[in-house]
């Protein structure tokens, strides 16, 4: 199926030339989305960001459901933004799937091919092939309300792919699923995205979905791109508090001089040799707490007050205030040993080898 599709289209516009190039500007009262996106064929881009950041607006703009105030969208070298929704070669999976309640699973999937000119018979054949690919052929006659969440999601994916889109848009495709189903559907989705030869834009607020499914992350906050890169790179070197919290790191801005980074009143020694404004990041598990001032180097050491204590997985997360706000993960045994309570003064230390400094 993939081979046919490639031959139908113009020759490859050349290596490195992205399949999708978009500059999306949507003006709203008190909100402005302004982002640039590029995606190569076969690439999966995740738009990650907090609620209200503009992720879904960006997706709707790509689909043509929300008009652009400015900017452009080019897909396969052709302008997309001047086409009405129904003429765009796109497939969309909506957050709550929006399967047509009056049509069977098969007819939902056949809807797209039928609208794009296939005969009733051909559309149904295409649809049943797609249902087979998502392992739902025995549910072809079921109405959407008879399907489980995971099954509905797969029908929605089949429906979006059945029109053989060049651009696949997924809006929080796993958000409506329970934890167990989510795990299974995530790996299925990953497989289908691997088979898809067009570009995929995935909107999510779940860092795990983004890390597992995407080749490239674009983090959006307040309508603008704040960071992008490969998932591992973004996870290792967060550039905003939001990203740092998502990937579970403490993040600060400081000034570096050789192997020393100053953040407010605290001085960190680091392994990198850099100068000027930097970010410094370290995981909560790298922070050790002491009742009294430990001996040795004054670096990587500061006095803090416990703001709160909460369970965090198998460990205990201690929130510290003081010169810098820090999250520290320690074992329940350590909490008992140190007899920690909120409001208490403690000393906090971080090992130099567990910090990571990079240019801001």
């Amino acid at each position: 199926m993939g081979d046919e599709r490639v031959s139908e289209h113009e020759p490859d516009p050349g290596h490195g030339e992205p399949q999708l190039r978009a500059h999306l500007v949507v003006e709203r009262p008190r909100f402005r989305l302004d982002i640039e996106l590029t995606a190569a064929a076969g690439q999966v881009i995740a738009l990650l960001g907090p609620n209200g950041a503009g992720k879904t607006t960006a997706l709707r703009a790509l689909a043509g459901l929300t008009p652009l105030s400015e900017g452009h969208i080019t897909l396969d070298g052709r302008p997309l933004h001047s086409l009405p929704v129904e003429r765009r070669p796109i497939g969309v999976v909506f957050q709550d799937y929006l399967l047509f309640p009056h049509l069977s699973a098969l007819d939902n999937v056949a809807f797209g091919p039928r609208c794009r000119g296939a005969s009733k018979h051909d559309a149904r054949r295409t649809a049943s092939a797609w249902l087979e690919r998502v392992d739902l052929e025995e549910h072809a006659a079921a109405k959407p309300r008879q399907l489980s969440g995971g099954q509905a999601q797969r029908v929605a994916l089949a429906r979006a792919l059945a029109v053989e889109p060049r651009l696949l848009l997924l809006d929080e495709p796993l958000a409506a699923l329970d934890a167990h189903t989510r795990l299974e559907i995530r790996s299925r989705l990953r497989r289908h995205l691997g088979d898809f030869d067009g570009a995929t834009i995935l909107v999510t607020h779940d860092p795990l979905d983004a890390m597992v499914l995407a080749d490239h992350l674009v983090v959006i906050e307040n309508g603008g791109v704040v960071q992008q890169g490969a998932p591992a790179e973004v996870a290792r070197r967060p550039r905003t508090d939001y990203v740092a919290r998502l990937v579970g790191l403490n993040l600060y801005r400081g000034v570096a001089d050789e192997q020393q980074v100053t953040v407010g009143d605290v001085v960190f020694s680091v392994t990198e040799r850099i100068h000027g404004p930097v970010f410094i990041a370290f995981p909560p598990s790298a922070v050790a707490l002491f009742r009294t001032r430990p001996d040795g180097t004054p670096r990587n050491l500061w006095q803090a007050r416990i703001e709160g204590i909460e369970r965090h997985g198998d460990n205990v997360r201690v929130h510290l205030e003081g010169p810098i706000a820090v999250a520290a993960d320690i074992t329940p045994a350590a909490v008992a040993d140190l007899d920690l309570t909120a409001g208490q003064e403690v000393w906090a230390a971080v090992k130099a080898t567990e910090t990571h400094a990079y240019p801001a």
């Binding site: 129904e86 929006l98 609208c115």
Partner: protein
Amino acid sequence: MVLAVAGMAFLVLPLAGLLVRAPWSTMPERLAEPQVLEALRLSLVTATIATAVCLVLGVPLAWLLARVPFPGRRLVRALVTIPLVLPPVVGGVALLLVLGRRGLVGQWLESTFGFSLPFTTAGVVVAEAFVAMPFLVISVEGALRAADLRYEEAAATLGASRWIVFRRVTMPLIAPGIVAGAVLCWARALGEFGATITFAGNFPGRTQTMPLAVYLALETEPDAAIVLSLLLLVVSVAILAGLRDRWVTSA
């Protein structure tokens, strides 16, 4: 509690009275009278045609009111619902003034097509449709407003044009609303009296529908009036019962 029972009695007793006073012994002959059958046939046919007219004109109108923002939309909606509160006789008079032989549009109709509506069966349909259409428009407009627009967006992303979206997604989604509106519309048309007698007159076989026949019979032959009333009651209840399970409850 007492008031509730009184309220129920108030609604049910007259219907019971109809049953008690009905001339059961002579019922079969009376029902077979050509005049009764004629009136019944005329009523059913005109109410059904009027409902069809309301569907053809009312659904697009409801769509316009629900989906297309235009200046003066609220005014148009108010105007559309006027027949709902207008005394039907006034509606009949208004129709005569516009569509009558000397009316604004009627004059032109007559001179151009040699065709005149008042006092014809077509006139009955016009009078019924005029009075009944707001029921359909309001019901369909409500269904359109309640329908989730995002299904239509999903259909558009799959390549469906506006018309396909309306036909294959919007219409099925609002089908219960359309059916409920059509039933209300049909029932209203079936019982229509004031506008019909004013605009279309009372000619047996041509414009004399059941309600007109009941009224006329009441003066000359009270028993016949009761029979006709019972017949109307049975038809109404049958429609209500027949549709309730399938549409009204699931809507």
